[in-house]
Symmetry: C2
Subunit: 362 residues, 2 copies
DNA sequence: TTGTATGCGTTATCAC
DNA sequence: GTGATAACGCATACAA
């Protein structure tokens, strides 16, 4: 332990300078990793720093340098298990680069978001990762007005120094649909999230195209639009079950919907995956612990966090260029136990093998 | 919108002073809510602040005042749904009082925790809420050495300026046991978390005492010790099911264990709650969405966060007093659908009504 | 009550 | 390469 006695952190750069018998400026150069310091002096300085337990005062640093070394992270809702993992990854990354992170969740409340954003501006954050999957119009205006580097998902903020993270929803959804097709499903429903939101449009479009790609007529790939919630899932499930020709598999736009679907199946005595296959989206922690464990399209929180941070780095080094190249982020299917061959698959073996030829499966 | 053009936040206290035709000192007094400023001057100052979009520079403030207005929040693991809600409550509270909070999760990794704590010290946090339910010995030493106000759960940090949050586990666990007793259960198992940890000892002790209180002999209130995880729950369930006289209800030391128990029951075809009642602890978000929705002892994250923040406030105003009065935090049962009367209850009606007299149920 | 002047701890700009 | 010294933006002691 090199920490000093109970004395307040009152040790400053001048004391270090004295002890190392150099000037404060030299100490500063050392702590900032400037290479223009003679080896032997640097060594003396480090020794003094160690002995005194000196740590540079970040607010003084920020004041004079104009850089706060604080970032903002805006998420939709912290209680959605998707986000804590994202937060953790982002904070770890930021921490490794000597940044702190202010995290705020909108909870889909515009005023709440506004308050948080004001705090970000006041604290002089050097960049903000807007990981909210919703483009609340003008929400970011204050950030943009202050010319703060922004990373957003799916859609760019015009006029901002920003980078867009382009999530490739199609990648994972394609895998999901083909996975189901391979198992023999020929009627696949899609439980979509609310439509104005671009992310949901993209997820749905990806599904529709995938279904088309494997040769499913659109009436065999019905879409139900609901909320991105447990209840939204139950509604979707009821809708599909009560339709004329219920699908044998349901792909959901997020995992909470899938959990809702699972619940309805359980209540109706419909066995998953024997009588119905279910696929989620996001692959939140929960997916592993529902019954049965959920097959889901994973959007990696690590990838997302990393892309977000890299986006900010790019913006910092880009100087005045407003809008940079988007960064792509993939998705991929995680197969668990909520998907299997439909009952009818065996019965229809003959037909299926004919179909097989038409399926666009590599 | 009162924000200024794209100009950098370069507006400082002097510009405000000029525009309001007062001295910088007066502006400072106004922004700090000092009451010693003449009404009409204050009004002029606010107007200027508004017009210029001035926000005081927090690092300058921190530098001169010695107060960073940053707090630390240490949690066990951010992916455990218990904590995000706690974080949110704490951050909201802190934000309302003009504090930012640095959140770090140990992930049960000592080195990771140490790194985070170092960052806290470096950033000159004014207080830390240690919400980790584990007393990693000496983990807090650096915080204590710097005399940083600490709030901890269950157990105090000696030598520290600290307040302990005393969680009343017994309150909710008592309710759970009595709830089960009222339903007619006479054999209740307890799936405990790992034993060295005080919080788990307390939870178990609370259970043992509750069982005793309602007249259960100890062999009718067996305890199994396992990990606080899904797997720990499955092990507990298997243990109880394979015992000579399996309990008709299982109380778990946390919700993840309960989810594990649920899974085993489902796999064995044992219907919950018809054939087995299950109670969790923590009442995490997930509890609501498993099948069936879990009856659980709730430890309010709001209460906890609020108590933590109040603890810090007390420490700030307490000056040099080291250890203050503990703050009590309650727990309470949330009844959902994983608990019901045991099958045998009806058959044994006669015996039960006799027992009833001995049950300590108001 | 208000203004002036000083210092918080650091980095940056100069000279040397 | 290294060392004085002037900002950075604000709060506050002190003077008025």
């Amino acid at each position: 332990m090199s920490t000093q006695k109970g004395k307040r952190s009152g040790v400053d750069i001048i004391q270090v300078a004295r002890r190392a018998e150099v000037s404060p400026a030299t100490v500063s150069r050392v702590t900032n990793g400037r290479s223009t310091v003679a080896r032997h002096l640097a060594k003396r300085v480090w020794k003094a720093i160690e002995e005194l337990g000196y740590t540079p005062n970040p607010q003084a640093r920020a004041l004079v340098s104009g850089r706060s070394r604080v970032l903002g992270l805006l998420v939709s809702e912290i209680t959605n298990p998707f986000f804590p993992e994202l937060m953790q990854s982002f904070e770890d990354l930021a921490g490794a680069h000597d940044f702190e992170v202010m995290v705020g969740s909108t909870n889909y409340n515009l005023e709440r978001a506004r308050v948080f954003i004001r705090r970000l501006v006041q604290r002089r954050v050097e960049g903000v990762a807007v990981m909210t999957f919703r483009a609340e119009s003008h929400l970011l205006d204050e950030l943009i007005a202050h010319n703060i580097p922004l990373v957003t998902i799916d859609v760019s903020a015009d006029g901002a120094r920003s980078v867009v993270l382009e999530v490739d929803y199609a990648l994972g959804i394609d895998q999901a649909v083909q996975h189901l097709a391979l198992l023999g499903h020929r009627r696949i429903g899609f439980a979509s999230g609310p439509m104005p939101h671009l992310t949901n449009v993209r997820r749905r479009d990806a599904f529709v195209q995938s279904a088309h790609k494997i040769g499913l007529p659109s009436q065999s790939a019905p879409v139900f639009v609901g909320e991105h919630t447990f209840e939204g899932g139950t509604q979707a499930a009821l809708h599909f079950l009560d339709s004329k020709a219920p699908p044998t598999a349901i792909v959901c736009s997020n995992d909470m919907m899938a959990v809702g679907v699972l619940r309805v199946m359980s209540e109706r005595g419909i066995k998953v995956p024997r009588d119905m296959s279910v696929v989620g989206f996001d692959d939140i922690h929960l997916a592993e612990f529902v019954n049965p464990p959920l097959t889901s399209v994973r959007m990696s929180r690590q990838d997302l966090a990393q892309a977000a941070f890299r986006g900010l780095e790019k913006l910092w080094s880009a100087g005045d260029e407003k809008s940079l190249q988007p960064i792509r982020v993939g998705t991929s299917l995680v197969v668990r136990q909520s998907t299997d061959a439909p009952k009818e698959a065996l019965a229809a073996l003959g037909r299926r093998s004919r179909m097989q030829d038409k399926l666009a499966i590599r």
